[in-house]
Every structure is written in C-alpha cells, then in structure tokens.
C-alpha cells in the first residue's frame, strides 16, 4: 500500500508565494519612492516628513553614538527585556488558568467577569494606579505589559481548551490517561497550536502597549526614545525609531510563526 506521503500541494503553494513576495516587495519599494519624491520636491514640510536620507543619518547617528546615555542596542534590549519578562509571566499564568477555565464551566464563571471587565480598558487608564502601587521603576512597566498581554492569551487558552474534540479526550481516558496526565499528555498538546497563535496575538498587543509603558519615568527603551525625540521635534529620529520598531515586530512575529509551523506541522497554513 503506497501512501501519498509527498504532498504535491507544496509546489503550487511555493510558486504562489514567489509571486506574492515579489508584489509585496514592489509595494514597499513604491512607498519608499513616493516618500523620496515627496520630500525631494518639498511637497511636505520636512518637520512632518523628513527625507529618507535624513532618517538614515539619524539612524546611523543613534547606531554609532547611542541615544542619551545608552546605545541603540541597549534601548532595544531594555524594551525587549520588559516584553520578554511580561510574556513569560503571561504564558505561565494565562495558559494554565485559561485551559482550566476552558475545561470547567464553574471555574470559568469565576474568572470570566473579571477578565471581561478589564480587557477592553485602555491600559493608560489604569497605568497611573500601577505606578502608585509598584513605583516608577521597571516593575510597573512590566506589569502593564503583562496585563495587556494576559487577556488575549487567556481568551486563546479558553477557546483552545473548549475546542478539543470530545472523542479525543474520551479516547485518551480509555487508554488510561487521567487527571494531571490527561492535561499534560493530551489537553496541553491539543491546545498548543492555538496557544501559540494566541501568544502571537498577545505579543502584538503587548508590543502596542510598549510606548505607553515607557511614558512614565523611563530613561531607556525604544518606546521612550520615540517619546523623548518628539519633545525636541526630532522627527528624523522618530521615523528611524518607528522603522526599527516595525522591523523588530516583524522579526518577532516571523519567529513565532516559524515556531508554530515547527510545533504543529499537521496544521496547513
């Protein structure tokens, strides 16, 4: 019995991918060209839109000399460190709690109202409270990032646990999996693809909160750099920082997507 082990689908997909990639590149190139033309012919006030050359030189300046006390890598590292710590705690708390809530209606009834209440709140609304509670140091910043990432991760975990087919749980119990081992060997791996997708969303939300988190009493971080530069109307630096932030976001996102594909190759994307 020869099984169809090679998937011919892959060929056509990669062909489509090349076209997609080419069109995307052209789109980005077109945007840069318009930017360059607009600033070159002075269509827009350079304060609003500095030329690509100015932004580039702002970037090389920061990269070479750093910005106000730390190197560029130092700023990026400070921000990523905050996100990393926050996401670590998001994963280890929201995932178990969400999975248990997904499996038990009663536990869900306990936590759902609380999370549904705080989830839509703008983080800035309660940031001042966090600063009051935890001070102006890194703790309050990390907690703000944690809270913004917790809700999407929790919701993904609840959803993933509720989506497990009843037969899979039943079959596993008939094979002797019970209690903790059912969670560890069947429920958690069943949820993992959805959890990673939720993690991706949560990282995105956390990242979007980064500037807000670095607003108060920070002296480092890329979010803070953008804010600080705006005080001196250094729009060239703001643009450079925004582009750096964008590129970092894309890199993080691709890394998570790669991880999802590695962990769950059976899910066709």
């Amino acid at each position: 019995m020869a099984a169809p082990l090679s998937r011919p689908l892959k060929v056509s997909r990669s062909k489509g991918y090349v076209l997609y990639f080419t069109v995307s590149c052209c789109s980005v190139l077109a945007l840069f060209t318009i930017w360059w033309i607009a600033s070159h012919y002075g269509w827009v006030n350079p304060l609003f839109l500095p030329s690509p050359a100015d932004v580039w030189s702002a970037f090389t300046d920061i990269a070479r000399e750093g910005y106000k006390g730390s190197t560029l890598l130092g700023h990026v590292g400070a921000s990523l460190r905050r996100i990393l710590i926050a996401m670590f705690f998001v994963f280890v708390t929201a995932v178990p709690l969400g999975i248990v809530c997904g499996r038990s209606r009663l536990v869900r009834a306990v936590f759902d109202p609380i999370i549904e209440f705080y989830r839509p709140l703008p983080p800035l609304a309660y940031y001042s409270l966090l600063v009051l509670w935890f001070g102006i140091g890194d703790t309050s910043k990390v907690i703000l990032l944690f809270l913004s990432g917790f809700a999407p991760m929790f919701i993904a975990a609840v959803y993933s646990a509720r989506r497990i087919p009843a037969d899979r749980i039943n079959g596993a119990r008939s094979l002797g999996a019970n209690g903790f081992r059912l969670y560890a060997f069947v429920i958690f791996p069943s949820c993992l693809p959805d959890l990673l997708t939720g993690f991706r969303t949560a990282v995105g939300v956390t990242y979007a909160t980064l500037v807000a988190a670095e607003m108060v009493a920070a002296v480092s971080g890329i979010g803070w750099m953008a804010l600080d530069a705006s005080k001196y109307l250094r729009s060239d630096i703001i643009y450079a920082v925004i582009i750096i932030m964008g590129i970092i976001a894309i890199l993080i996102d691709s890394a998570i997507r790669l991880l999802i594909r590695r962990v769950s190759p059976w899910i066709e994307q």
Binding site: M1, A3, P4, L5, P165, D167, R168, N170, G171, A172, R173, S174, L175, G176, A177, R181, F185, V186, P189, S190, L192, V263, S264, P265, W266
Partner: protein, 271 residues
Amino acid sequence: MGTRAVNAAETVEAGVRLTDISLAYGDGAGGRPVLQGVNFTLRPDDFVCVLGPSGCGKSSLLHIIAGYLRPTEGTVRINGVLHTRPDPQVGVVFQHHNLFPWLSISENVAFGLRMAGIPRKERMRRTADYLSLVGLESAASLLPHQLSGGMKQRAALARTLAAEPSIVLMDEPFSALDALTRESMQQHLIGIWQRTRTCIFFITHDVDEALLLGRRIMVMQPGPGRFVEDFENPLCQAEIGLPLHELRAAKEYIPLRQRLMMSIAGDRTES
C-alpha cells in the same frame, strides 16, 4: 478498592455483562427514553456486529459500555467487575481515527503502554508487534496527517489493541473510508481477530459488513432502543474462512441479508 475485589470474587465470570441498561435524556416521566431494558453478555472471544438504523441508540450504548456515559439504570460488568468510568479495560475505536496529531504513529500506538507505566524497552517491543499486526511497520515514524485514511484507522486499531483491553468497541470505524479501502480494512480486521481473539463489539449500519465480520449479529430498533435479534452468523467468515466474493455467492447470503434488512427497516414504518 476492597469492595471491588469482593464483587469480583462474587461473580467470577469472564466477558462483558450488561444488566437492565436503560438510558433517558431529561428527568423523570418527561424524559425521552433512548435505551430500555438492554441485557446481554459478550464472551471473551466474541465478535459481535450490532446493526440498527441511525438514532436507535447504538452509539449511546457504546458510550455506556466505554464508561463515557452513565446509564439511568443498570450496570456494566467487565470480567465480573463493575465498570463505570473509562479505563484501559475497554478499548474504543472511533469513526474518525482520533489519533493524536502531534505524536508519530509509533508514539500513538505506545500511548496506552506509556500511561500504564510500562518500561521503555518493553513498550517499544510491544509497539513494534502491534504495528506489524496492522502492517504499519514502515509508517512508524510518520505523523498521522501523512497517512491515508485506511492507514490512520489501522493505526488507531493498533493503538487500541496495544493497551490489551478485555473488549474493543468499534463505532462504525470504516464508514468514513472509500469502498475499496473499507473492504481491505474488513479483511485486515478479520485477520487480526483470528490472531488475537479479542472480544470485539462492532457497530455498523451496513448489513453486508455485519454479515461479513460478525460471528454473532445483534439488531437494534429505536423508540426506545432495544435488541430485537441476536443470533450466531451462519456465514461468519472468520470461522469458515471464505473469501469475500464466495461469501457473497453463498446461497444463504441473500435470504439472510433480506431478513436483516426487514428486521432493521420494519420498525421504521411502525414508529
């Protein structure tokens, strides 16, 4: 645990015994009866095919035997011991293969052994045995999504058998396969049963499949679900070893098939 041992000692009997099983959805008099007064015994080497129209409660019955569903009344005893929750004594093969997509085929087959705490070496040996029983040695390291439908279902069967249950419940396991694959799976299953002689409780709505596989055939009717026929299959292939086409040509085949069709459909017009 102590009472269990006493119960077992009282009624030492091999096989599966269902006593006065009733199931109703909803409460009291307003409840909709699904099963009523189901009694039967399966011998340890039985191969039973259960036939019945859809909605006759055959899947509910399977869920009760497996321990997924608690009957409103009645008891299930496996080798004399009361069975109320799923455990490795009762293996289940589902309509959909239901393999764990993140585990390789051999890891899937080894799952029950791993849960039972069997040492790695012994586990690997037994996994290899059951993989070769279903003819999947070459697929051991593949993931389920890389297999064809029939291979997945064979892997699911191997996974269930590897846990060495007292009874294997099969809920229309071949109904999602194409006709050719289904026939080869039926032959596989006969071969496997001849070698292992494990008790199989096989639900189907396909009369031909029941005649081909079952050593014993039971027919259910709905409203509420109950058994109306229970007989030894005179055509049973596993016993007489006829190939499929000869079985179909046997002179008892057509009248028997006719009788079963009537017995299944007859009730439909009544209720």
